[in-house]
Structure formats: structure tokens, C-alpha cells
Symmetry: C4
Subunit: 349 residues, 4 copies
């Protein structure tokens, strides 16, 4: 199966390849949180919980959609979903296209046995959704017992992919239909190039209630495809490997654009709990991560991923304590220092 | 013939010499276009066409004037003109001074056989034009069936050239005469040091309708001459090898200064389709390139140049798609992020 | 005794370990004082004196609290207190927790024999003070004949310390009680992560009259503890080794926040007399240093510390002369150039 | 003779030592002049002349005071004065203190035989002038047939010099007396640490009509003395080797402060004709240089210096042509781009 094969090539590249091009940046290094010398908090008292997809997270974290469709992918999904369940995070499976094409692939997306209560996101590409229609998408969500459906945008990747889409029309139309079908259970996400304020505003006007800006600075899918491409596409891909809206610029500008009624996930290049705290300070409700947990799982199984996650959770909590923030809303009221190129982005976006 | 010999020395230096001094920059790296996650475009549907010299380009690209006068130069001209014809670009020959001095040199400037429909630009230096008078210039244009005439400004080069001009008076006067003779068919261009808003405004007031700002950041003709010069001139040339208005600063400030009635080409250091998209975003109607296509042709003939051009065209198109721009006018309405030293230039110019 | 052992491990790390993480900065390099070509001063005439804890310093310098509790610590205290006495500086002992726990440790904090007239600061941690109560703290101060009591804040360190505090509640309450007990003799200090304007304002509202902002850029106690920690805590500690408000940002913003009624010490990363002059120019009444004098003492005894101090004092005086400042108040009226990241901090704080 | 010996040690250090500390900068690299593609000038027609000390310079250049008092110094003075005469520059001798102390030293300051018409500046330190009184200073000027007298300020150097002054009082008083004696023939100069707007304003209010800001970025006399000093002074000197107002900041801010009535020289770190053009653009009437001509003379005698000077003059002229400036006043009306740290300096000074 072509889709499955491609997915395995992707996993291999992501596990060990240079998929985070040097020089790409989230611009989170241009954000400094401000130390509070008198936190007046107990570490355990800090309330990191947040609402997401109608459930309550213990930590404002989402393991964003990555994989599915092969046995190896199934292990990744179950290992990471298990951790999400254990720590009260949200979890997303990867693109369910393979599953739509081949029912046997469905098994690898099933995580409810290990993660009965996590807010669970299905996943499908925008142009796949166009092709399968609203009912097809609904079936994918139902088949895995998902709380919501992530619709991913990846035009940059498609253009770099030999077999990729070239026609990006009709996107808002299908979004509109999916909004009608899924309501507050729909999430629209990018995959590393970022959603900016213009697109965000238009999506919110259509009724989208959850966005994952997934900006530049982490896994670059243009880069992943470039490593697989040849000829003109490989060279153009190389030029566009740093294309996108840096995550810090995306989340801050989108929050400004959409107001407080929309649930915002910020992902793309977050690597530490401190990074997660920064995107929350900039306006995210939930911080998303993919690559670091995937790599930890690949290197050390569920135990390896647990260790990596423990550091992230402790660091996130510490950032709250040391800014004197008792909750996410509290952190968002604290001062933050914005410097460097991020100032330039925010002056315009 | 002195002119022909000098031209061949120039070609050799440009083909393999260090003619783009390290540290010189177009400042296009201080410009970031903004990703559009929902382009609502089909790749093929993007309309890159633009009007130039009364004809329609399929791509807003000009291969700027480089050569002529020797057999080798004739091959370069024909190879690149052929590509311009094939892809719907504009093309310019190099300085026709050699041709004015020696009728036998004319052959190397003839590209109409391979490029019957391209918007074709003749080329002569400002001070050559002073010497040969309006009729002489008209004869040059007619002799190659040109659609327009490029008048090049290169005071920096002249000063570094042992045999160069030292008297730059009377320039606006000859421009005025040429405007009367050529009207909208006249284009005034720099050659890598840039036209700024003051000069642009004055030229437009005299009736010039096409400008190529040709700014700093690519081929430096001060540098080329410096490599040939000796003594004081070589040392002064070294100091001035980074002299000029960076291309990004030139195009943005000139567009602001002259309004929308003037056709603007931006050249000087553009190396990719993404660079071309950036100058269009900053206000150019047409993006110009010389060195990269010359070098590709020298290294691989017409085939080599075709390959280099294919990457440039695909990258340019991709930049349009990924900013959600259906046309040049559309791209110019999109946000763009301006940072670094470019901010300083644009605060003053 | 656990406390004593930990203190000795701390001393060893501070004496030779990498406790000032590369990349951490006070941002004092973003401050330039302005040369005065006509100082109209005699070097000896410059009046560097300032009031502190009811006494008069000859130099606006405080050797901030570092140690006590072991024999080695006692030598450090006496050597440095001797220098303070000799040159008219203020001196602080390290945390007296060891002394509260073990009366025999008291001896190492006794410096009055060698420093009968220096303004002397006792020292205790905020949460230790909570535990021992106001009377306990008063006893500590009285036992060493202190002129004032330093209450240190170190939440960053505690969180990185395996045996550290996790509950930071009730801090302002104990401060309020200590204010009642100590009045203008109480000083609240950080330990390298900085006090910002919000905390400073609240402390001043409670009646605190002396603050040592002790900001980021020098000894990092998160780092010291990280070098001792293991597992999750070591990794989180590594992430937070550059956490804090840079000293230059802290002192300038706190001075702005609290007005002139509060005595401000600026410490954290000051390494030269010029650094000291800069923090005074930014609003400090007194400049504080710990590590450089500790290290000089460890390497060369009292003589070594004397030599290091002589350079600091001469450099401080020279900065006054070359800015044409006859006194601290005078220096604070002179222009100072603020650049780089410090501008970003001061735009927000 | 102590003064003579010290002067020879200085010459040796300046000839080959590291007297321009790395990292010190004039900030002239933060200034960009703007290319004029249509200069409408003939190279020879550019009028670089300017009035200075009642005479007319062909180039707005001053070889600033360096030496005298030994035979070697005499050669330097005569070689460089000869060049000044030949090219129509101004010339200054070094400190005439040696001459005041020892009549035999006078010979080395005599340059009128080789430079009968140059605007010639005598030279004495401010505090030397205090000691010898107005009549003594007048005798020094008369003895060499000077057109004016340079009074040098060098507090930074004095403090780093073992035998240096420590009392800088009474400076304005002696300036006032010298103004009465010399009128428009008096010039007050720094020696590499810069005169800022406050000092400049006060000097102008006392009647001083000529200032040489001599800022940071070139020869550092703090550094020269530091290389000769020991102990505390050497260490403090090292800290202050980058002390001062960068030349670009000094000249721009002083011109703003004093208006057009005062003749301003800008020196300190100018190394090329382009540097000279930049300081003129920023408001200088005359550009001054010391070290580069001294070094060229030491390395290659009068011929070596002539070669170095030829490059400087050609580069200066080229900068005028390529900015389209027919005169100094013209250049000062052209736009100039200000970036980097220079913006920070000019925001405050
Ligand atoms: C191995 C891997 C597979 C992914 N597959 C998908 C996918 O199928 N669907 C999707 O929406 N995003 C996918 N992503 C993108 C992530 O959800 C996320 O948006 C992006 O990687 C940025 O986050 P990161 O820098 O933390 O990896 C994948 C990412 C990785 C690393
Ligand atoms: C080999 C070569 C020859 C050139 N000859 C001419 C010329 O004859 N006339 C002219 O107007 N410009 C000439 N140019 C300048 C180009 O048209 C263009 O303005 C400049 O090179 C900047 O573009 P680039 O950085 O893409 O090379 C020449 C450039 C090159 C590389
Ligand atoms: C060896 C050492 C021990 C310290 N112990 C204490 C302490 O017991 N109490 C305290 O308030 N600060 C303590 N500090 C912190 C210092 O007082 C000061 O706030 C901090 O080190 C920043 O200054 P520096 O960069 O000059 O070292 C200690 C610092 C050092 C280097
Ligand atoms: C060798 C040497 C000797 C100098 N001696 C004097 C002096 O006697 N009097 C004076 O006013 N400046 C003296 N200066 C300073 C210069 O006049 C000038 O202000 C300073 O060197 C900065 O210019 P530069 O960077 O081009 O050298 C001397 C400089 C040099 C290099």
C-alpha cells in the first residue's frame, strides 16, 4: 500500500533524520518569562488543568497527531496514548487516510483500550476530507471513539511531495460542512508552517472553535518530503524548508485576532516544559508536541517516553511556580519580554 | 578591439571569479513572506503574467542584459533568449557599445531568430549614449528588433575601471532626449549599486516609465573592475565593493516614491524564485536576474540554464501558492515581515 | 549535619565549578556610560560614600552574604569582613540556618572582632524565617551584632534542590512580621534570579526599606543545585539555569517602580568596578558582589581578596571621574546609553 | 628626559603594538551613505575645499597631532607635514610639552620649512597649559609659526599612566583664558575617548570655536598606557580600554548640540576616505587621522605615507561623487542610513 509505505518512510526520517532544519526557529527564544521572587504558591497547588474537547486535562498538553496504519505505528500510538491517560493529557492519532483506504489498518489507530478517558483526536487531511466527504470523516472519528476530529492543513508538504496535491481550492467549503457535522468537536491544525491571523479569523468566522497553529521551528514536513524528493522538487523543497510562521509569532498573533472564544493549541518546535509555558503565556490554551515524544518512544519505548514526559511536566510546573502563576489564566496576565525578530513579526501580523 | 577584450575578461571573471563579495547583501533575508495555510488556489491557476514593454510575460521575470560582442557572448545571448521565449520571460542583451564600434559584433546580439516574441531590451551605457546621440541609440535598438532600450547607469564601475569615465555630467539631459525618442520603450537601470528614491523620482519626472533598480547584493561591478585594477584604484575599489543600496531597500523605497504608474524591475542578487517573489511583494512588477543564469549556461549550456530556470520558476510559483496569492497584485496586498537593517534603510529612504 | 555538608559542597562548587552558565548575562554590556572629557574633579575628591543601615560606607559596595557554619566558612567570613572594615564597605554573612540548628556553628559567623564598624547583615532564608518565627530571626541578628537582617528569596534554587522547599506560601506574611520587628534594618534579597518591579512594589508597600535585587548573570544557584541533582530535577534545573531577571533590567525597573525612598542594592554578576558604577547609574544605592571576592579569597587568602578588591575600587572611582561624577547622586543624573535586549526588558517591566 | 623617553615608548607601541583594541568601534559601520546613480558631476569638479584656521584646505583633512621632541619624531613631523603641504591638508604637531621643558627639543616640531602654507596646529595638554599659563602656551605656538593651538584632553590616559595627572579641576578656567588669548585660533580636542554634547556645549559657551571630538574606535591611549602600566593600574586600564564615545556618536551628537557656528573635526579610528566622508556627512567640517599615516610613514617613509594618503584622498573623492555631492555642504544634505548601536547612542546623546 502506497500510503502505508510512505508513512513508514516518514517515521524513519522523523526518528533519526535531520527533519528540524538548523536555523529554523519557533522564535520562543525571543520570549522571556519574568521571575517572581515571591510566588506565594505551593508546587502541588498549581492548577494546570484546562478544558479541551469537553473534557478536563490535568496538564494543558496535547500529544499531536503523528501516525497510524502499520504495526509499528500502532505501538507508537498505544505507548503515547497510555502516557496521555496516565498524566491527564490529550492525544491525537495521525492521519486516518490509511484506515479509510484499508480497514485492516484501523487496528493501529485504536487507543481507547489504553486510554479510555483522554480527550482523543482523530485526524485527516483537508483535501482527503474533500474527497471522502463529511460522512466519511465522521466514520473515521466514530471508528476510534474520538472526542474530536483534527483536520490538518499541509500545503507546503503537498507541494514538495512527488505524489502531493496541487489543487488547494474548496478548503473553506469543506471546513464549513465539517463545522456543521462536528461543531465544537472540530479542530483545524497546521503541520509545522503555521496558521496566521488572517486564516484563523476566517476559520473562526465559519464556526471553527479549536485551532492548532502548529508553526515553524520544529519538525518541517517540507523538509521531510524534500529528503524524499528528487530534481526540481528537491531543490525547491530545500528553499522552502524554513518557510512558515514561527510558532511564537503564530500563537501570539492568532490569539490577538480571534479573541478568547476560540480554543488554541500551539505546537511546532516545542521541546521543553518551559517552551510550553511560553506559548501559554502568549495565548495558547494547550501546548502541543509531536517529535520529542515520538523520538523518546522510538529510542526507549513507553518507559523512554515516560521519562521524557516527566521532565517536560516538571519543567512546565516549575515555570508556573517561578512566575507566580496559580493557573493558565494567571500566567497569561503576567508580563513577558518580547525581543528580536518576534517583535518584527508581531509589528505586522 | 579593446571593448571586446574587456568584455571577455569580464565574462571570465563573472563565470568563476569572486564577484559577489561576502557580506554584501540584498537584505532580502530581512523580508519574510507569510504562510497561508488555506491557499484556495490550484497551482496551475496562479496567474504570474504581467505586462512589460507592451507585451505579456508568462512569468514576471527578466533576464537582464549581460553580454554581446564576441562569439562566446553570442552563444550566451542566444541560449538565454531561447529560454526566455520558451517560458514567456523578458530578455535583455548586454551593452551594444561593441556593436556601435564594430558592425561585425552585431551578430552576437541578434536573438530574434530564437526569441521572436519575447519582450527584448537593447542596452547602452548612459555616457555612451551621450556620445552617440539619440539617433545612434535608436539604430542600436532597431538593429536587433528590440521592444525597448535599457540605458544603464554604472558610475561605481566606471570609477574603478582604469579606462572608465570620470565625468558624469549631462546625464539627465540625455535621458530627457531618449524619453522623447523612446517614450514608454525606455528603461533606465543600474548595474548593482541601486537606484534610490531621489534619482527615481527625478527620472520619472522626466518621463521615464521603466526602471530597473538593480541594487546591491549580487554581482558587484565595482568588484569585477577591482579584480582587474591596480594600485590606488584597486584599493579604493576594494573599499567600495560593498557600496550601494541593497536591492530590497531600493525596490521598496522606489515604489513608495514613484507610485504605481511606473514599471519597476528589481534585480541585483536575486538567486531564487523566492527572492523574486519577495521583490514583487515589495513592489516590483518584474524580477531580474543575470549572474545565476549566466553561470548555469556557462557550466551546462542551454540545458544547464534550463534546469536552473525550472527551479526558479517552480519556486516562484510555490511562493505565490503558499502566500495564497493568485496574481502579482494579490501578492502585493499580503502582509510581509520587515526586519534587521532593512528597517533602518526604509526608515530613512 | 546535613546543612553544613551541603554548605561545604556549595563552597566547593562555587570555588571552582562552572556556576556562571555561559550565555547568562546581567545585560550590563547593554549599558554604556558616557565619557566626560572635562571632569573638573580631583580623583581623591570624588565622594563615593553612601548611607546604609544607619552607617556610612566609604564605597557604595556590599560583600553579599555567602557563608558560615563550618571552619572554612568562618575563615571566608573573617577575611572578607576584614576587607570591608579596612575599606569602608558593608558586609553580609551567609545563611544563619546552620547556626540556628547548631550553636557551635555560631562562631563562624562572628566577624565583629575583625570588623567592628562595618554595616553588618545577618542572613536567613524566607521559609526558614517562617519556621523559626520573628524571635528566632531576631536572636540570629543579635548573636552576631548585626546592623540589619537579610531575608533571602531563592525559590529557583529550592525547586532544583532535592531536599528543597516546595511550598512558597505565606511569604508576604512573614515579611510583614519581620518589618514590624526590624523596621529599616530589614533587607530582602534574591540570590541570582532577580526581584522585579511587581514583587518590589508589594514588599515596599509592606514597609520593606532595603532591597537587593540580586539578578541573573552571575552565580546561578539553580545551576549550583543542578550540578548536585540527579534525574528529572537535574534536567529541569539545566533548563532553568538561565532563568531570571538580568541584573541591569532588575535594578532599572525596580528603581522606577519604588521611587527614591527605598535603599536598593544591585548584585548578581557584577565583576568589576565599572559594573558597579553602571548599576549605580541605573539606580542602585549600593553595588553587591559575592563570587569574585569569594574566589579571590579561596585562591589567595585575605591578600588575594585585597588585590582583587583594590582593582574593583580603583575601577569604580575611575568610572566616577571619567563620567565627571562627584558623587553617586551626580552619576545618576548623567546620561547612559541603553541598547540590545535591555531595551526589550525595560519596555515591558 | 622622562617626557622624551615616554614619547619614544609611545611611538614604538603605536608603530607596532596592539593599540586599537579589538571590539572598539567608531560605529561608522552603522552609517551607510546612499548611492546616487546619476551623480551629474565630474570627478575633478568636486569641491572638497573647506576653511580651517583662516586658511583654505583643498581636502577637508587634518593629520592630527602626534609627536615631537626626539629626532625620530622630527622626521615623522616633517614627512607628514610635507604631505599636508603637497595636498592641501591641515597638520598638527604632537604635544609641545617636551619643547617647553627642553629648548633643544624644539627643532623636531619645526615644519614650516617643508610646509610653509598649511594650517598648522600647535599642541599642549590641558593640565600642562594650566601649569605653564597662557603666555607659555602662546610662546609654544609662536615658536613653530602655528596658525592655531590644539589643547588636548586626555583624562582617561592620565589615569592609566603611572606618572599621570589625578586632579582635573580648573579645566574650564584655563580654556576661558586661552580663548581670550587665541580666539578662533584655539582648538580643543580629545585623544580617542570623545567629546560629547554636554562638554561641547560648555566649551562653545566659553567661546571655543574649533573642536576635534576624537572619539573611540581607533588608537586608544588608555590602551597604550595600559601596555606600559603594572598592577592595579594595568588591570583597571584593561577594563577601560574600550571606554569612550564612539566617533560616529560623538560627531553626530556634538553637531546637533553646537549648531553650525563651530568648526568641528572628527577623528578617532578613521581609516579610509570613506570613513572621512561618513563623518563629514554626520556633521564634521574636517576629518582627522593619526595612526594610519603614522604607521605608513614608519613602514615606508614619506613615500609610504604618500601612497597611503593617495588611496585615502581618492576614496574620499569617490564617496563624494557616488553620493552626488559637489561639496561638503552638499554631502551633509544627503540622506544617510543609521543603524545598530549608533541608533542607541543618538537616542540619548
Ligand atoms: C512522525 C510525525 C508524523 C506526523 N504525522 C502527522 C499526521 O499524520 N497528521 C497531522 O496532522 N500531523 C502530523 N504530524 C505533525 C505534528 O502533528 C505537528 O503538527 C508537527 O510535527 C509540529 O510539532 P513538533 O515540532 O513537535 O513535531 C506528524 C509529525 C511527526 C513528527
Ligand atoms: C556577466 C555580466 C555582464 C553584464 N553586462 C551588463 C551590461 O552589459 N549592461 C548592463 O546594463 N548590465 C550588465 N550586467 C549587470 C546586470 O544586468 C545586473 O544589473 C547585475 O548583474 C545584477 O544582477 P545579478 O546580481 O543577478 O547579476 C552584467 C552582469 C553580468 C553578470
Ligand atoms: C558561595 C556563595 C554562597 C552564597 N550563599 C548565600 C547565602 O547563604 N544567603 C544568601 O542570601 N545568598 C547567598 N549567596 C548569593 C549571593 O549573596 C548573591 O546574591 C549571588 O551570588 C549573586 O552575586 P554574584 O554573582 O556576585 O555571586 C551565595 C553566593 C555564593 C557565591
Ligand atoms: C603616535 C601617536 C601620538 C599621539 N600624540 C598625541 C599628542 O601628543 N597630542 C594629541 O593631542 N594627540 C595625540 N595623539 C592622538 C591623536 O591626535 C588622535 O586624537 C587619536 O590618535 C585618534 O586618531 P587615530 O585613531 O586616527 O589615531 C597621538 C596619536 C598617535 C597615534
Amino acid at each position: 500500500e502506497a500510503t502505508a509505505k510512505r508513512k513508514d518512510a516518514h517515521l524513519d526520517l522523523c526518528a533519526t533524520g535531520d527533519v528540524e532544519p538548523l536555523g529554523n526557529s519557533t522564535l520562543l527564544e525571543d520570549v522571556r518569562l519574568v521571575h517572581c521572587a515571591m510566588p506565594e504558591l505551593s508546587v502541588d497547588e498549581v492548577d494546570l488543568s484546562t478544558e479541551f474537547l469537553g473534557k478536563t486535562l490535568r496538564y494543558p498538553l496535547l500529544i499531536t497527531g503523528m501516525t497510524g496504519g502499520t504495526e509499528r505505528a500502532g505501538v507508537v500510538n498505544r505507548d503515547l496514548a497510555l502516557l496521555a491517560e496516565r498524566h491527564g493529557l490529550a492525544f491525537g492519532v495521525g492521519s486516518q487516510r490509511a484506515m479509510a483506504e484499508n480497514p485492516q489498518a484501523a487496528e493501529s489507530f485504536q487507543v481507547r483500550r489504553v486510554a479510555p478517558t483522554v480527550p482523543l483526536l482523530g485526524n485527516i487531511g483537508l483535501y482527503q476530507a474533500v474527497r471522502m466527504g463529511v460522512d466519511g470523516v465522521r466514520r473515521l472519528a466514530d471508528a476510534i471513539g474520538a472526542d474530536g476530529m483534527a483536520l490538518h492543513l499541509n500545503a507546503g508538504q503537498e507541494l514538495t511531495q512527488p505524489e502531493g496535491d496541487r489543487d488547494f481550492r474548496g478548503g473553506y467549503q469543506i471546513v464549513e460542512q465539517l463545522v456543521r457535522a462536528f461543531g465544537a468537536r472540530l479542530l483545524v491544525k497546521e503541520t509545522g508552517c503555521g496558521i496566521g491571523p488572517d486564516v484563523a479569523r476566517r476559520l473562526v468566522e465559519l464556526g471553527v472553535r479549536n485551532l492548532d497553529v502548529s508553526g515553524l521551528g520544529g519538525t518541517s514536513w517540507v523538509r521531510v518530503e524534500q529528503l524524499r524528493a528528487e530534481g526540481v522538487q528537491a531543490q525547491v523543497g530545500a528553499e522552502f524548508s524554513n518557510w512558515g510562521i514561527p510558532t511564537a509569532a503564530a500563537i501570539a498573533s492568532v490569539r490577538r485576532a480571534v479573541g478568547s472564544g476560540t480554543r488554541l493549541v500551539a505546537s511546532g518546535g516545542l521541546r521543553t516544559g518551559l517552551d510550553a509555558a511560553k506559548v501559554i503565556a502568549l495565548g495558547a490554551d494547550v501546548a502541543g508536541m509531536a517529535l520529542p515524544l515520538f523520538r523518546a518512544q522510538q529510542a526507549g519505548g513507553v518507559e523512554g517516553a515516560e521519562k521524557a514526559l516527566a521532565v517536560i511536566l516538571a519543567s512546565l510546573r516549575q515555570a508556573f511556580v517561578l512566575t507566580g502563576s496559580a493557573s493558565c489564566a494567571d500566567l497569561q496576565r503576567k508580563p513577558r519580554i518580547i525581543g528580536g525578530q518576534l517583535k518584527d513579526w508581531l509589528a505586522t501580523l
